[in-house]
């Protein structure tokens, strides 16, 4: 489709929907206040587009077809994102007025069902993590990390050394939100670089800890797919200086039922329900975060908790040491229900099969990718990986001058994703693949075949790779305007002012 920007489709006078009109009595009531209201009334109507309903539908359905959902492709290329199957039955389950149209302030007697699901989901995640309690209030992984750092801060303050402990330690292959949230909470951030084998450097940690250490915030396995075998020692080292240890479990998909945060001694951890527990990624949210804590952090949990009293589920606001509200009400209810349904569809054995199969698939993919000339998997050579691998096209780049980003764009011509954002850029010409448990062997083979084909093109016909995409809705996009305040256009009105005024 060559679908215009929606403003270009406007015909003055067309209506997309009609709305309820006020009754005469209501109009009369308002008229009594009109003299005070008049100054607040808008003089010019907002320049929203005017379209008949079918044209609105056509516009959005067309552009939806210009988007590549996980249901449509072998979504291995968005590594670190755990693009697993989101079961359709969960969509059926959540699309009921009994969830969509429920208000959080209703009488508890009228929300027992959703309270029970939140309570049960908390218990499931507590068992999976080994932690005491879980807050489901946040809407994404990063927000859950924020909630964790807020609890760490409150914990140290409650212990009287909030002023002293002003440093947070993380590793470079931990998700950037660990560093960013710690910074936003007022901490200095110490970032550890990997050792020669790509493992987190335990000596660097020993050097970094001190009485100023508030916490270690660390991912494991990291986005390299490498599992830090010394994780228990890492935690112990931090504990020895009185710091807390927070586990970023965004990469938990390969270790469900295999090892738990509690086993390594962590005080806090978080899950991304939209990654590990299969709620759809929704074009970039809403996700849902779960902040899991050990007993000693329980008093600091955000928001209200849900308790089971006899056979009744009830909301408990009585948490005087709580960090307070980190998000509205109870969290992203549809995603909590989806995650609950997903876990209940699998059970303990099923979760373990998920982990094992994700790891099996990843190591198969690793073997296949390494067969492609020019591809490599830096660090920990010859070692098995957990659920994903950060690869490199450095050899291919040196040979052909074709970059990983160019390969990624060319992949889109074959209907496949290939994520080109790989913070941090330690691995040269990086790409990260994560097959999850959702793809069959033949699908993994198909993805690798396309990857190999494009790598071949880089040698035989680099121009076709460099000028990609050839097969997409749009052609090669420029970047000049995006970083130039005089030219960037973040809204249609700004575009008109800056680019169409002449």
């Amino acid at each position: 489709w060559d679908e215009p920007i929606i403003f270009e489709l406007s015909t003055p006078g067309e209506r997309g929907i009609l709305v309820q009109q006020p009754e005469p009595a209501a109009v009369d009531a308002l008229a009594l206040r009109e003299d005070r209201l008049a100054p607040l009334r808008r003089s010019d109507a907002p320049a929203l587009p005017e379209l008949a309903q079918m044209r609105v539908v056509r516009h959005y359905l067309r552009i939806s077809q210009e988007n590549l959902g996980a249901d449509f492709n072998i979504d291995i290329g968005q590594g670190t994102c755990t693009m697993k199957y989101s079961p359709k039955v969960n969509e059926t389950i959540i699309r009921t007025p009994k969830l969509m149209d429920v208000h959080p302030h209703q009488d508890e007697a009228s929300i027992q069902g959703v309270l029970e699901i939140f309570w049960r989901t908390e218990r499931l995640l507590a068992e999976i993590s080994g932690m005491a309690r879980v807050s489901l209030q946040t809407q994404g992984g990063s927000a859950a990390i924020w909630a964790n750092i807020a609890m760490i801060r409150a914990y140290h303050e409650a212990n009287g050394d909030g002023g002293v402990r002003d440093e947070v330690i993380t590793t470079i292959f931990s998700h950037p939100s660990n560093a960013a949230c710690a910074k936003a909470a007022g901490y200095k951030v110490i970032t550890l670089m990997p050792d020669a084998n790509g493992y987190p450097d335990i000596d660097a940690l020993r050097a970094a800890v001190s009485p100023r250490t508030a916490a270690l915030m660390i991912t494991n396995p990291e986005d390299t797919g490498i599992y830090n075998a010394k994780i228990r020692e890492f935690v112990d080292i931090v504990h020895e200086v009185g710091g807390l240890a927070a586990y970023d479990q965004a990469n938990a998909n390969g270790i469900l039922g295999i090892t738990r945060a509690s086993d390594a001694g962590f005080d806090l951890c978080h899950f991304n329900l939209h990654k590990t527990f299969s709620t759809p990624h929704a074009s970039g949210g809403p996700g849902a975060g779960a902040s899991c804590v050990s007993e000693k952090l329980v008093p600091f949990l955000p928001g209200p908790t849900i308790e089971k009293v006899g056979e009744t589920f009830t909301v408990n606001h009585n948490h005087p040491q709580s960090v307070g509200t980190v998000a509205p009400f109870f969290g992203v209810a549809p995603n909590v229900v989806r995650a609950y349904a997903w876990i209940m569809a699998l059970g303990a054995d099923g979760l373990r099969q998920v982990a094992e199969t994700a790891v099996l698939n990843n190591n198969y993919l690793l073997a296949k990718v390494l067969e492609i000339p020019g591809a490599s998997a830096p660090y920990a050579e010859g070692k098995r990986r957990i659920e994903q691998v950060r690869y490199s096209w450095q050899e291919l780049f040196e040979e052909t001058g074709v970059s990983s980003e160019e390969i990624g764009i060319r992949m889109s011509d074959f209907g496949m994703h290939y994520w080109t954002s790989h913070h941090p850029y330690l691995v040269p010409q990086p790409f990260t693949l994560e097959p999850t448990e959702s793809y069959s062997k033949s699908e993994i083979d198909e993805y690798v075949a396309v990857l190999a084909h494009v790598a071949g093109e880089a040698r035989t016909n680099p121009e076709i790779v460099r000028t990609a995409p050839h097969n997409q809705t749009v052609h090669h996009i420029h970047h000049d305007d995006l970083n130039d305040p005089a030219r960037w256009a973040i809204t249609w009105r700004a575009y008109q002012k800056k680019h169409l005024s002449n």
Binding site: E23, L360, A489
Partner: protein
């Protein structure tokens, strides 16, 4: 160890395929892949979880059975608001965001995911029209986060610590903001006067260390701030910013804050086509003028229009990517992560469906019904309005002279199938009316309250 069957979610548990893969990678068994995990850290046996519901039919029946214990606001007359609103969601909105292409996508590039970039750029653009501002973010988590970030932005931009809140704000929002900014900013709350800002007290509080004058309109009690221009002027005179928290629902009818001097406007988009979802359907917007000083302080993604190799063709991309924590880790502005894109698409479809006339009419309906509710509830014996401000959608009602407390009245009305509102401290009740609540419904509320208060 394993479920007895190949699970539909995990194709490669087919035994023959599993063996084939193990052979291909030269592994004897799956344990080999976990060699790095010390045995001391391994789960012994199985997790202690309930038995799974393997058949889809049984799973669906179990979870739906739990949800069916809920009563929805479609089944009872509800005057609940206080941060989550029962506005009508056009079917077109649910159709679009139910599309698997949007629902299951994530972080693709602007080629294969052109549609998502376009839909969110259009969302930004339509919000910009509604708010009369040139820059709007891809939604952050919710209005609380948007507000906390807007205030933090004010701190960074002005290099000052002070926040002066001049309106009645949702206590949960105040809690969020307080904990969020407390390592680098301080919040001062100026009690409202008759529902809106106490101008004199505000003037007193605003000073050289003030980063932001924080106005909520409508306030937590639904009061519309009539002195916005004056407050913005006070802020600007002190070198501070005017940060306005609001709900965009009525700006088809009302003057948007930018027109009276707001520098940063923020809030939640739940009202714009997102179901209540037990309070869990949220997105936060932050709108600013097209000034790099402001834009570069925004942590969220901002999608911008770009040219392509084909003249006249529109492409999209991330504006000023290097602001973000994705690019710069802790040196970025706060952080960015998976937030609320799908709800942004929903709000875009909502605004595209409503158009200027729909939004204007909706604003009018809300104002009129709110006025009617105020009139009718004020006429109930024993009840008084807590203030005489202009209100949008919500009003606070005082039960001090009634025969029941507001808490007792809520219990009495619930027994009659009505959720009359949210109890406020001070024996008050926060009553919310949307376009979904008719004048007849308001009459029912007033009559039932009258009856209940008379009985006691």
């Amino acid at each position: 160890m394993n479920n007895p069957v190949t699970h539909p979610y995990i194709p490669n548990t087919v035994p023959a395929v599993r063996e084939e893969i193990l052979a291909a990678v030269g592994a004897a068994d799956i344990e080999e892949f976990y060699a790095d995990i010390p045995s001391s850290l391994r789960v012994q046996g199985s997790l202690n979880l309930p038995a799974p519901l393997l058949s889809e039919a049984e799973l669906e029946r179990h979870v739906s059975g739990l949800l069916n214990k809920n009563t929805s606001t479609r089944e009872a007359l509800s005057f609940l608001g206080a941060g989550t609103y029962n506005h009508y969601v056009p079917s077109v909105v649910d159709e679009v965001i139910g599309r698997s292409e949007f629902l299951t996508a994530y972080a693709g590039e602007p080629y294969e995911d052109h549609g998502r970039f376009q839909a969110l750029f259009e969302y930004q653009s339509m919000m910009g029209e509604l708010l009369n501002m040139d820059v709007v973010n891809v939604p952050t988590y919710d209005g609380m986060q948007a507000t906390a970030t807007a205030l933090a932005m004010a701190g960074r931009i002005t290099g000052r610590r002070g926040i002066v809140l001049v309106s009645d704000a949702n206590p949960d929002l105040v809690s969020k903001v307080t904990d969020y900014v407390r390592s680098f900013m301080d919040l001062t709350i100026i009690p409202s006067s008759n529902g809106t800002a106490d101008l004199a007290a505000a003037e007193q509080a605003i000073g050289a260390d003030t980063a932001a004058v924080w106005i909520q309109t409508p306030s937590f009690h639904g009061a519309l701030e009539e002195q916005g221009a004056r407050l913005a002027q006070l802020a600007h005179d002190a070198g501070a910013l005017a940060v306005v928290g609001t709900d965009p629902i009525a700006y088809g009818a009302l003057t948007p804050p930018a027109d009276w001097g707001a520098d940063i406007v923020c809030g939640d988009i739940q009202s714009l086509g997102i179901h209540q979802w037990f309070g869990g359907g949220r997105g936060g917007f932050i709108a600013v003028h097209d000034d790099p000083t402001f834009v570069l302080e925004m942590p969220s993604r901002l999608f911008g229009l770009e040219s392509t190799d084909v003249p006249g063709e529109y492409g999209f991309g991330d504006v000023a990517w290097d602001r973000t924590s994705f690019a710069l880790r802790e040196e970025g502005k706060e952080w960015v992560g998976t937030a609320a894109a799908l709800w942004g698409i929903a709000a875009g479809v909502y605004l595209a469906s409503m158009g200027p006339t729909g939004m204007a009419e909706l604003g009018e309906t809300l104002l009129a019904r709110t006025a009617y509710a105020a009139q009718q509830l004020a006429s109930v014996d024993g009840l008084e309005l807590s203030d005489s401000a202009l209100h949008l959608r919500e009003i606070a009602v005082d039960f001090s002279n009634a025969s029941l407390t507001s808490t007792a009245a809520v219990a009495a009305l619930r027994a009659r199938g009505i959720e009359p509102g949210v109890v406020l401290p001070g024996n008050r009740l926060l009553v919310c009316v949307t376009e979904q609540v008719t004048a007849a419904d308001i009459d029912t509320l007033a009559a039932t309250l009258t009856a209940v208060l008379k009985e006691n």
